[in-house]
Symmetry: C2
Subunit: 274 residues, 2 copies
């Protein structure tokens, strides 16, 4: 039975156990990146939730997914094979499948995260205040002509630093880098499962260069480093190399206190030019 009082993210990522003991989810068509394709980070949050149901530890700390193909919205099954588990951490292998077969193969490591002050941390980048940034959902110029705003942008409030939003105003950058404030539109506070979605929620870094095509994720690793404080997260994505039909996207996510709370890296196919 749907729990309509839950925040949108928790409803859309809910995983339930069937009477036979299996895990199932209802993939929500509202978390798409356009063209009916569900966001890879959203799918990873569903997988993370399934892994936690079978883990002795409460948080995902390292999650690596191979994206075999884009699953359809609707019913999905989640198969969790527990691996080695100890006092500090536990491993598992999770497969997300829809009616057409496996879509994601994911290795998940769970543990208990804290908010301990880091022994060492990179400096947090500067970003202008949220109110000076550009809302992807509100700013129609950010969608390529004729393309509706993706569902993901309506559910994850994404405010681009104007310094990395030039591509939306006909002034592409020479650097594949995007930076934005991010939170759920309904005010649901961030947690480790939310960070799995945020870690793939910006447009492809190649957008910064003016290349407004979809860049399908091939393999994505997310590390969650600490429990995020309430409020906006700052999310930065950049590429090290775009070559031979491939690009990497490297994310770092800081919470509202400036603490690094997650990192991700993905290999994606270069955008198909429109």
């Amino acid at each position: 039975m749907p729990q309509t009082d839950l925040p949108a993210f928790d409803r859309a990522t809910a995983v339930t156990r069937t009477e036979a003991g299996g895990l199932v989810a209802e993939l929500d068509p509202g978390w798409d990146v356009g063209g009916g394709i569900l966001n890879g980070g959203y799918l990873l949050s569903v997988v993370g939730r399934a892994a936690l149901l079978e883990s002795p530890h409460p948080h995902p700390v390292a999650v690596s997914a191979s994206y075999l193909r884009a699953p359809a919205a609707g019913p999905a099954t989640l198969t969790v094979v527990p691996g080695a588990a100890g006092r500090t951490l536990a491993h598992s292998l999770v497969t997300l499948a829809d009616a057409a077969g496996p879509a994601l193969t994911v290795t998940v490591t769970t543990a208990t995260l804290g908010t301990d002050a880091p022994q060492w941390s990179e400096p947090t980048p500067d970003a202008p205040p949220v109110e000076e940034c550009v809302s992807i959902a509100e700013h129609r110029d950010l969608a390529p002509p004729g393309v509706p705003v993706p569902g993901l942008s309506l559910r994850v409030d994404t405010r681009l630093d104007p310094a990395t939003a030039g591509w939306a105003f006909g002034r592409p950058s020479r650097e594949p880098r995007l930076r934005a404030w991010m939170r759920f539109t309904d005010g649901r506070e961030p947690d480790p499962l939310a960070l799995l979605t945020f870690a793939d929620a910006l447009p492809p870094t190649s957008f910064a260069l003016g290349d407004l095509g979809w860049a399908p994720t091939v393999q994505l690793q997310v590390l969650v480093r600490a429990l995020p404080a309430p409020g906006w997260c700052l999310v930065e994505a950049r590429s090290s190399e775009i070559a031979g039909g491939w690009l990497d996207e490297d994310y770092r996510i800081w919470d509202s206190t400036g603490r690094l709370v997650a990192q991700s890296r993905q290999l994606a196919r270069s955008p198909r030019r429109r």
Copy 2:
């Protein structure tokens, strides 16, 4: 039958098919990081070789491994479960196990790499010439007192940039960053399988801070971006955060022409202080 004319790396990572059709390897005790623990990158090269035997494509491009436990040197089995495969890329899931059970669970994506000039690439860092750098194998100060030089350092010739070698001379840095030239000691040229080893072959980044303990890898992702040119590779590792008993290590590897050829990121447990 051992092929003694092969370079050390190819002998140590050889994977053979049994009459029953299974894949086996003989993990070589000579690729340890001290205390009989085999290097995680070395193990990944063995896994990569197994994946290629079952793949329609010749190169590993994305490899993510969960390290369940340290396998013993000696006989190991490799189980490859093919996933989706297409004209551009193929996925598989590989398990490396020794007599005590599974040790690594690895998702592997294979494809065909080239040497096409990048459309975009980060600048290559400066490093002094190899002959001005510090050999880890030759420089005894680099091993903690009473600890023999690990086998890995004898087989992978590693020359630290003096700017990141202060820790070996009682002058630890404030930044967890290491940079070194790297090649196989016997002159075997780099290729994508070799890059899987190089992507975990530096000491832990916490060594730079003077913290000379082992940092066991929990999960490691390696992306191979291009076929490396012959000669020395430049390998840089740095951490974004050390906190709560965890650290990340982020590697970038450039070939002798200055081309970015691989990237990796791992989550590891912070060193146990000696």
